[in-house]
């Protein structure tokens, strides 16, 4: 029981970047854009925040940081970086009607390269012995717990032990679910994703919705990168550490059947699967089996993917125009 209680917070911490990515991708996909550049966007969101806080921490020197600035500067940088990525994608896909898969993959190449290049450059600037940047002061602000979380025992550990971005992720997911389901904007957005020509005929500005949804989606996803560096990794950036979480987030979108509120539970489940291999005893003789256990999240995703396609229910389907660009004059 104690082991399980310790497992949950770790699963949540693993799940939050996935949740941000998943929520962002849901918003984007609901507008009919399949953004395979998500891993790149999350890298850019992370490194932009790191760049911002790196220069802020350096300008403060050995003094103490202002908590509000330490949070706002990386946050603003991260959002700016993600918006630029979103604009690049939207411009290519919506305005220039480029192939979405190809654009997405190019964005991933660019974004991951961008992250690792500037990460590497900052590492050189900081003249550290180890190949990573440590932003412990900023991270401390991001990781600040609620003041009464320590005194509430297991309840505190389970529900109150996270940094503010983790709660933001859950709130954002709930807001997205609400907006998509219950508001006029959500209805319009879904119309754009399902059938843009009908939406266009109904007087909805398709281009505006696609641009906005993609950029908002990128910002949300970028926050996932920021959370990973500042909170999960304790402010330590090392190249390629973020790994394949971006791809997993895209898979989660299908896993959750494009429902943002379901994403909260699903991403925590995935976070758990992601670190499950640490909890399965293998003994020293069979370390290689750990590699097989690491396969679990991918196999589960694949199985869910197949099961949802087998059931083939109408309400479980992706937005109808997903992956297809809209050109008004095409019949």
């Amino acid at each position: 029981m104690l082991g399980f209680l310790a497992f949950i917070p770790r699963a949540v911490a693993q799940g939050i970047p996935l949740l941000f990515g998943c929520t962002g991708e849901i918003v984007t996909e609901k507008s009919g854009n399949l953004n395979l550049g998500l891993p790149g966007v999350m890298y850019v969101g992370a490194i932009s925040g790191v760049i911002g806080s790196f220069f802020y921490e350096n300008s403060v020197g050995s003094g103490s940081v202002n908590p509000a600035l330490a949070i706002l500067i990386p946050l603003a940088c991260s959002i700016a970086g993600s918006v630029i990525m979103g604009l690049i994608y939207s411009f290519l896909v919506v305005t220039l009607r480029a192939n979405q898969n190809v654009t997405g993959l190019a964005m991933t190449t660019f974004g991951v390269g961008f992250g690792n290049f500037f990460g590497g450059s900052l590492i050189k600037l900081s003249r550290a012995d180890i190949p990573s940047i440590s932003l412990s002061k900023t991270s401390a602000c991001f990781r600040a717990r609620l003041p009464f979380s320590d005194s509430t025992g297991w309840f505190g550990d389970l529900f109150l032990s996270y940094g503010f971005l983790a709660y933001t992720a859950i709130v954002v997911a709930l807001i997205v679910a609400y907006v998509l389901k219950k508001t006029r904007i959500g209805l319009n957005l879904r119309a754009v994703g399902e059938n843009p020509s009908t939406a266009d005929a109904a007087g909805i500005n398709v281009t505006k919705y696609k641009y906005t949804a993609t950029c908002v989606g990128c910002v949300i996803a970028g926050l996932g990168g920021l959370y990973y560096v500042m909170d999960y990794a304790c402010g330590i950036w090392s190249n390629d550490a973020f790994g394949d979480r971006g791809w997993l987030a895209i898979a989660l979108v299908i896993f959750t059947l494009w429902k943002a509120d379901l994403g909260i539970l699903a991403s925590i489940l995935f976070g758990g699967l992601y670190i499950l291999h640490l909890y399965i005893p293998t003994g020293m003789d069979h370390m290689e089996r750990k590699e097989l256990y690491k396969m679990i999240p991918y196999v589960v995703t694949l199985v869910v993917l197949i099961i949802t396609s087998m059931r083939n229910r109408r309400e479980d389907q992706p937005p109808q125009s997903l992956g297809i660009n809209y050109f008004r004059e095409e019949r």
Binding site: L34, L36, I88, F91, L92, T95, L96, R97, A98, N99, N101, V102, T103, L105, A106, M107, T108, T109, F110, G111, V112, G113, F114, G115, N116, F117, G120, S121, N239, D244, W247, I250, A251, I254, M287, E288, R289, E291, L292, K294, M295, Y298, V299, T301, L302, L305, I306, S309, M310, N312, P318, F327, E329, E330
Partner: protein, 367 residues
């Protein structure tokens, strides 16, 4: 008048047919602009003279005989993967699983080399290696294809997941076969006996992949353009309903095509493991399964144009390595430059496919 004021200034129409020279010209202009933008960004972010960067890119790719050979070897590897994916793309099957299919092919070859090497005659061993590479690659293509054909499972994501599953399987065997124990690496397989190493052609160790790539290019071109299979692939890609109507078995075509696509990727795994690296690592494919998607698409799925597009990518990649060492920059800088160039190439397709009319109200009124 009021109506005219609301009319948008720019009017787009889809082009029917564009003369080839114009299409090529647009792409060349895009690449030139991309290079200028890259130069400006290089200057701004690193303070290095961009001309020096470009000259070192060229010397990275062609600076010496050995470098030139390796450039062409890398080119062939990327080309074969792109061709393999193209067969599937022609069917509008987005096979993003090249990475995993290559890895499984490599695993098949390595397994034969390690378990059977030095125990059976070399010729038999190599035949077994070829078979197991092709079969494992084909299986990795078959699974997503089967799900797509039977349940219409989204292939982009299923092939993607297959990549990670393949990576973990290779990691598992890497630790199982590691030499020496605890190093986490397999090391050079059969270093002394060279059992299972693919033979050198004409005394050059770089020539084999190039010859294979040339053969696969010709094969793919003929297969897509002149065979019944190729025709069926194109019909299924253009319109599955039409293909049902004319009596094509769509499921069979999807599965058959992906088995071929996966097997060709498996062949790359064989060449990488038994012909070039003589070892197996989880990163042996080095992201080429993804790059190949871009290569194939940029060439508009034309096997011969793919030689040019994969050349651009390999050239940039090799050059990036050189920049990294000679200017003490990070290897990832090449990815940024490649990304920017890709954005421009992707964007320029718009000007190939669409015509822009700027509305000139004065002229219209004069009429």
């Amino acid at each position: 008048m009021d109506n005219k004021a609301k009319e948008p200034l720019i009017h787009l129409t889809k082009r029917g047919q564009i003369p080839l020279y114009k299409a090529i010209l647009i792409r060349i202009i895009a690449i030139v602009i991309a290079l200028i933008v890259c130069a400006v960004i290089t200057g701004l972010t690193t303070g290095i003279n961009p001309l020096e960067v470009y000259s070192s890119i060229i010397s990275g790719a062609f600076g010496s005989v050995r470098k030139t050979w390796i450039t062409f070897q890398d080119l062939s590897i990327l080309l074969i993967i792109s061709l393999a994916l193209t067969i599937a793309f022609r069917m509008r099957f987005w096979n993003i699983g090249g990475e995993g299919q290559v890895l499984m092919g490599g695993l098949g070859a390595a397994a034969c080399m390690i378990c059977l090497g030095e125990r059976i005659p070399n010729a038999v061993l190599i035949i077994l290696m070829i078979i197991s590479s092709l079969v494992l690659g084909a299986i990795w293509g078959f699974i997503p294809a089967f799900c797509k054909a039977v349940w219409n499972t989204n292939e982009t994501l299923s092939t993607l997941m297959m990549n990670y599953i393949a990576t973990q399987i290779v990691l598992y065997y890497t630790i199982l076969w590691e030499v020496p124990k605890g190093s986490g690496k397999i090391g050079i397989i059969n270093q002394n006996s060279h059992a299972g190493w693919l033979p050198q052609l004409f005394g050059s160790k770089y020539l084999l992949p190039i010859v294979v790539a040339a053969a696969v290019t010709a094969f793919t071109y003929i297969y897509i353009k002149y065979t019944k299979h190729g025709y069926e692939i194109r019909v299924v890609g253009e319109s599955p309903k039409t293909s049902v109507y004319v009596g094509i078995n769509v499921k069979k075509v999807i599965i058959r095509t992906m088995i071929l696509s996966g097997a060709l990727c498996g062949l790359v795994g064989l060449i990488l493991v038994a012909g070039i690296n003589h070892t197996l690592t989880p990163t042996i494919s080095d992201g080429r399964g993804f790059t190949a998607v871009l290569v194939s698409w940029m060439a508009q799925f034309n096997p011969f144009a793919m030689i040019a597009t994969s050349f651009i990518i390999v050239f940039m990649d090799r050059g990036a390595g050189e920049i990294a060492t000679s200017f003490d920059l990070n290897q990832s800088f090449g990815d940024i430059l490649t990304g920017i160039i890709l954005f421009f190439i992707i964007g320029c397709e718009f000007f190939v496919n669409y015509e822009i009319h700027i509305r000139n109200h004065k002229k219209e009124r004069e009429r």
